[in-house]
Symmetry: C2
């Protein structure tokens, strides 16, 4: 058997730490380095940073080239940011070193729409260096796009798509909670939306354009609306406290039109501890077509653990892919890695692992 | 724009006819020939055979080479049989002509398990002739395997999988109804199971091994059980009549074990008109793992239209694939073809269409 597949993780927040912990549980995958943007994390023992309770003998580095020069990994997972613009430099560095990239930056789920030039740059670099780049995550990347696309596959025709994701943000870190305006007053929330500090869910245009691209639809416009979910009760997480009357989350909706016809409607109220007000979490997908399809998941497919799992479980798919820039709709579906990950590297369909 | 993608359909039963009708609705796809095994269909006008209500100027041929010699298609859809052994000759002929194949033969969903030698032969031929072969269908091929695999992709760990498909066989043709023992007495049903005439669902081992292969599990044994669903009421379809006390369907279960542990349990009662006895149809997938997942679809994802749609919607995926033998878990997910199918042919990921 070959050596393990060496994986580096970029990011030591909630997601980066979760991904690193998951990698340690997998046979055939080896956490070979961790990079953080925050300079104060330089040299810290990774086991402590990711909350493992034991030392790993790996130390956080804040210079990405240094990590790559030390031991070239077979693949990198990026969990440092949300936008393509913010993700580009790290991804470009990785690609220039010939390292395939899996990014959980939300906009990377379908970068061609919002950032065609940067997406083109990444694709060119990926092809030049013979590796693949993928954007993934639970949403965008799975529940409100990949899963819907797969379900349309059993349709002879589709008239409209409607989906709803009612989830619990309690497991998330402070950066996610802030972007939802959680803990603000309703007035602060509205001002935050206006100023662009409260963004709600990042990823509706990505999900909608991933869907449209797969189906062969042209979308004429997308309308988005963000409303505060005002709490009637006291709610708290390790990172935020919400008093009654304050904002517990953001109800974010997006409607995509072809001409005057609403063809995709996505409804996504995100808050901490929704059950405290009797709100049941869950995912609902409804396709109006031939046939009609209605699929319900209760409770919701959890975002935190789901995103970490997707990032890790897509490793074999990315290593088996031809060079290029991919969305989740372009590669075979993920599967939980329960055996030796090295056995999932295909011989015939792609390149073998390098190094 | 190139010429349309020429598609031939093998089979003029319920499925073959449904596939042919669907092809006629799609932009960029052209029904260029129809082959039937039944010699008495030779020369019949395809529009009549598939129940279109108008003539197409295409005539059924019962010699496959003749169809291929007349106009070489870009892809063929096989809807003539259920087993790999029965599918092999037609698939081999198509491959030797350099024609990619999509088969809805149930065992073709994962031929490597039951028929490794024949699967190997097909793969060799596919690679020699630079085309791809895929087995697809609603079940096996989608609900009890691909969809489950995709859902495990968001799991950090999986302990066990359980799924249930309660469906309505009323739209199916006589060959499917006979293999379920519908219309028999309970005694005839039991004897039919014993003699191998009543087979129940074809595809449990395929679904289970597709799952196991994707997850990296080794399955030690599969136990299957078939029981008659005895009707309390009168039920009928265009192809069968069931009196009270007779068999309206087959309750088929399969349990896959690793050692003594049941890791996959599939429960699939198939009958005509289940609603006549208040039985609600639907699909349920439950994954015990991290996280637990429960997904429910009501009513069931319909088998007939779903299988026809999958066969057609996978055309671009098969044309974009590298040469080889594929299951649904090996290719990007299907998507409904709502625009021009030719625009879905990738430039970078695969071969361009020939001809």
């Amino acid at each position: 058997m070959n050596d393990s597949i060496r994986v580096i993780v970029l990011g030591t927040g909630q997601m980066g730490s979760g991904i690193a912990r998951l990698l340690l549980q997998k046979v055939g995958l080896q956490l070979s380095g961790v990079y953080a943007r925050r300079k104060q994390r330089e040299g810290m023992e990774v086991g402590r940073v990711i909350g493992l309770g034991r030392d790993l003998g790996i130390h956080v580095a804040t210079n990405l080239e240094e990590v790559l020069d030390r031991t070239l990994p077979h693949v990198a997972i990026q969990a440092t940011c949300s936008t393509v613009a913010d993700a580009l430099e790290e991804i470009s560095t990785l690609l220039r070193y010939g390292v395939p990239v899996i990014s959980i930056a939300e906009e990377m789920a379908f970068p061609r729409y919002r950032s065609p030039t940067m997406a083109g740059e990444m694709e060119t670099l990926a092809i030049q260096h013979s590796v693949a780049v993928l954007g993934t995550g639970i949403n965008p990347g799975f529940v409100l796009d990949l899963l819907i696309i797969a379900l349309t596959g059993i349709c002879a025709d589709v008239q409209a798509i409607s989906a709803q994701r009612v989830n619990d943000l309690s497991p998330y870190g402070p950066s996610v909670l802030e972007t939802q305006g959680i803990g603000l007053t309703p007035e602060e929330f509205d001002k935050g939306v206006e100023k662009g500090r409260v963004v709600g869910h990042i990823g509706f245009p990505e999900s909608i354009h991933m869907l449209a691209s797969a189906l062969g639809w042209t979308i004429d416009r997308i309308e988005e609306e963000r409303k505060p979910i005002i709490s009637k009760v006291f709610r708290e997480t390790p990172f935020v406290v919400v008093q009654p009357g304050q904002v517990a989350g953001c109800l974010h909706r997006a409607v995509a039109y072809r001409g005057d016809k609403a063809v995709v409607t996505l409804h996504h109220p995100q808050q901490i501890h929704p059950h405290l007000e009797g709100v049941e979490t869950g995912d609902v997908i409804e396709i109006t077509g031939t046939p009609n399809i209605r699929l319900v998941g209760t409770p919701e497919i959890p975002g935190g653990v789901g995103t970490c799992a997707l990032a890790v479980n897509m490793i074999p798919r990315v290593l088996n892919a031809q060079p290029g820039l991919y969305s989740m709709a372009d590669l075979p579906v993920p599967a939980a890695i329960l055996g030796d990950a090295r056995k999932l590297l295909g011989k015939s369909v792609g390149k073998t692992i390098h190094g």
